[in-house]
């Protein structure tokens, strides 16, 4: 039986909707009274795991789930050894650098050398500033990253932006985009090579279904 790792949070609804179009119903996860972390499709043809987005590629890389749905941002940050099969086109957002709108900085290169940048995306941030040869200290945070510049702990943040409302409401502005992100269908490479449980068939169904939605 194929196991799919699904991300809690923003991508969950679209992920479940997409799998419904190929005949797999995991909508129990959307039921607010549900506390189960592992459920079966009513037809018992597949199983789903509900995990944090960052953990989706972990379950897939170790082969406990043959498939997973996760944002490209997580794949860029964690660089797991998984097969990137389909760009699902939903969950569009961007990883951006933002500063306080009252700050003098309007481009990345104006940031002070050895300044501080707060982020949940430590590797992406470090890689980006290294590529600019701009020495900054990346401060890891796990949430409410906007407070970094507001409290004065950091000059800037590197964070995901979808509508930009959180930034605006907190008096921050974007000055640069690192990359765009969408949800991706990923697979355990070895299971994909072996075509475990006729995985390729399911992948093709998801591919054509996601193309027809766009």
């Amino acid at each position: 039986m194929i196991t799919v790792a699904l991300p809690k949070g923003a991508l969950l609804i679209d992920s479940i909707r997409l799998l419904q179009t190929v005949g797999l119903d995991f909508s129990t996860f959307l039921d607010s009274s549900n506390r189960l972390l592992q459920i079966y499709d009513p037809s018992h043809t597949a199983k789903a795991l509900l995990v944090r987005a960052q953990d989706v590629p972990v379950y897939v890389e170790y082969g406990q789930a043959q498939l997973g749905i996760v944002g490209y941002d997580v794949l860029r940050e964690k660089k797991p050894q998984v097969a990137h099969l389909v760009d699902l086109q939903f969950g569009r957002c961007r990883l951006s650098i933002a500063v306080k709108n009252t700050s003098p900085y309007r481009s990345v290169l104006e940031l002070p050398p050895h300044g501080r940048v707060a982020s949940k995306f430590v590797y992406c941030a470090r890689e980006y500033f290294n590529s600019l040869d701009l020495p900054v200290e990346v401060v890891p945070l796990y949430g409410s990253v906007e407070l970094g510049p507001i409290t004065g702990m950091s000059e800037a943040i590197v964070d995901l932006v979808s509508t930009g409302r959180t930034l605006r409401d907190n008096g921050l502005i974007e000055i640069e985009t690192l990359f765009e992100s969408t949800a991706r269908l990923i697979a355990h490479p070895l299971s994909y090579r072996l075509n475990t449980g006729n995985l390729s068939n399911l992948v093709e169904q998801v591919r054509s279904s996601s193309l027809s939605v766009v």
Binding site: Q66, L85, D87, S191, R193, L194, N195
Partner: protein, 421 residues
């Protein structure tokens, strides 16, 4: 203070060793029967030896401080065997059939905490023969190893580095490496976004999914435009698969009618190390596929080590003992306990010590293995009997001052042939 092993290191206790030996003995029997000879190379190698083939990165080697030369712990055996085969063994005739059981070391980069650093591998190298007959021999040795271990649910994922490389050569040079990386990592999303003509994009997509039943895949490849060397490599591959199937159909001892094979021409390495067939052995129990070993043909490796750069073909495989161990443990095929001793010889007085040793020696001098331990004193008969019962020792020999033994079978409530410790 408590002295701890280094992170990622591991000690093998007697039961672990018994299980590891169980695996290695079975593999060794196969290697011996196919006429292979064991070679033991140095655990320590010069870094340039290890890296000469191009497949090993400096960062993956555990390096040693040494003033004179850069040394590292071997991460695999093929480099060492290639080095010694063309130097110290240079006078020998080919083909050379060699095997090894050895520990290897690898340094894992990145975030993984306490990841294993020392591993055990067994494998073979068949040096000096090209051609599909040699390929077939190596694959059949591999299949027999797995059968000897009682593994049934396995398959071979077989690629061909030469064909894959030449299929890649039709892509524009500037992005060839990107295409190769994407195919090797099964990154379809990147393939879809590379700046390629529609025809080449389609070709890249076909290459990424060029796997499945050999007949289907061969037909698919045949439909692609191929030049002469590609056609030749393809024919070579066809002959190999045909031979394996033919052998399986005539060999009565085979449990399956076909060699369990998935042909996968997207199985390419990101470096040019392998030159012909390249393969992974995969166990596929309970939908949890696991790689047990890998190998391939490396016809350009030995010349790198040869003083006169003489070209000598080679092919080999290695099996990861830990991964085999894990799969076999789940199947309950390994010894579950270390063997119990057969005898406990107890000198009853200090005057009987010499007689006890001599009686124990007599017991040990048997055609079959007899395990005899001496009681080292400090216990009364009741405690001795209790000890023997707990350790599942079958018989006690009480040695009197006169030297004569009284033999007492251990009447345990639960005598088992094996003990738990």
């Amino acid at each position: 203070m408590v002295y701890q092993p280094p992170a990622g290191a591991r000690d093998l206790l007697p039961l672990d060793v018994a299980q590891k030996c169980w695996i290695e003995e079975r593999l060794q029997q196969v290697f011996d029967r196919w006429g292979y000879h064991r070679i033991i190379t140095s655990t320590l190698e010069r870094l340039d030896t290890l890296m000469a083939g191009g497949a090993i990165q400096r960062s993956a080697v555990i390096q040693l401080q040494d003033a004179q030369e850069e040394l590292g712990l071997r991460p695999e055996l093929t480099a060492s065997i290639a080095r010694t085969a063309v130097t110290r063994m240079a006078g020998s005739t080919y083909p050379q059939r060699l095997y090894y059981h050895a520990n290897v070391f690898s340094r894992t980069k990145g975030s993984s905490l306490n990841r294993q650093q020392e591993f055990y591998q067994s494998g073979i190298e068949l040096l000096g023969s090209s051609g599909f007959l040699a390929d077939a021999e190596v694959l059949l040795v591999l299949a027999e190893c797995l059968n000897q271990l009682g593994l049934s649910d396995w398959c071979l994922v077989l690629g061909e580095a030469g064909i894959a490389r030449s299929l890649l050569s039709t892509f524009p040079e500037a992005i060839q490496d990107q295409v190769r990386q994407a195919i090797a990592h099964l990154d379809r999303v990147t393939i879809d976004t590379l700046p390629l003509s529609p025809e080449l994009q389609e070709r890249a997509r076909i290459m990424l999914d060029l796997r499945g039943r050999p007949t289907d895949v061969l037909q698919q490849v045949g439909s692609l435009e191929l030049d002469f060397p590609q056609k030749e490599a393809l024919n070579h591959l066809k002959s190999l698969i045909l031979l394996l199937d033919e052998y399986y159909s005539v060999s009565a001892s085979k449990s399956t009618a076909k060699f369990p094979l998935i042909l996968d021409l997207s199985l390419l390495q990101t470096i040019d190390y392998y030159t012909g067939i390249v393969f992974e052995v995969v166990s596929n129990t309970n939908m949890q596929p696991q790689i047990l070993g890998r190998g391939g043909r490396y016809d350009q490796l030995l010349e790198l080590y040869h003083p006169q750069r003489v070209k000598i073909p080679g092919i080999g495989f290695m099996l990861n003992i830990e991964d085999l161990h894990q799969v076999l443990l789940a199947n309950n095929q390994l010894p579950q306990a270390i063997p119990a001793n057969n005898w406990l010889v107890v000198p009853q007085t200090p005057q009987a010590y010499a007689a006890a040793f001599s009686y124990a020696e007599k017991l040990r001098n048997s055609v079959h293995l007899v395990r005899v331990e001496i009681d080292l004193g400090g216990r009364d008969p009741l405690e001795i009997r209790e000890y023997a019962r707990r350790r599942c020792i079958q018989q006690i020999a009480w040695i009197k001052t006169t030297g004569s033994p009284i033999i007492e079978p251990v009447t345990a409530e639960h005598v088992a042939p094996y003990i738990d410790i």
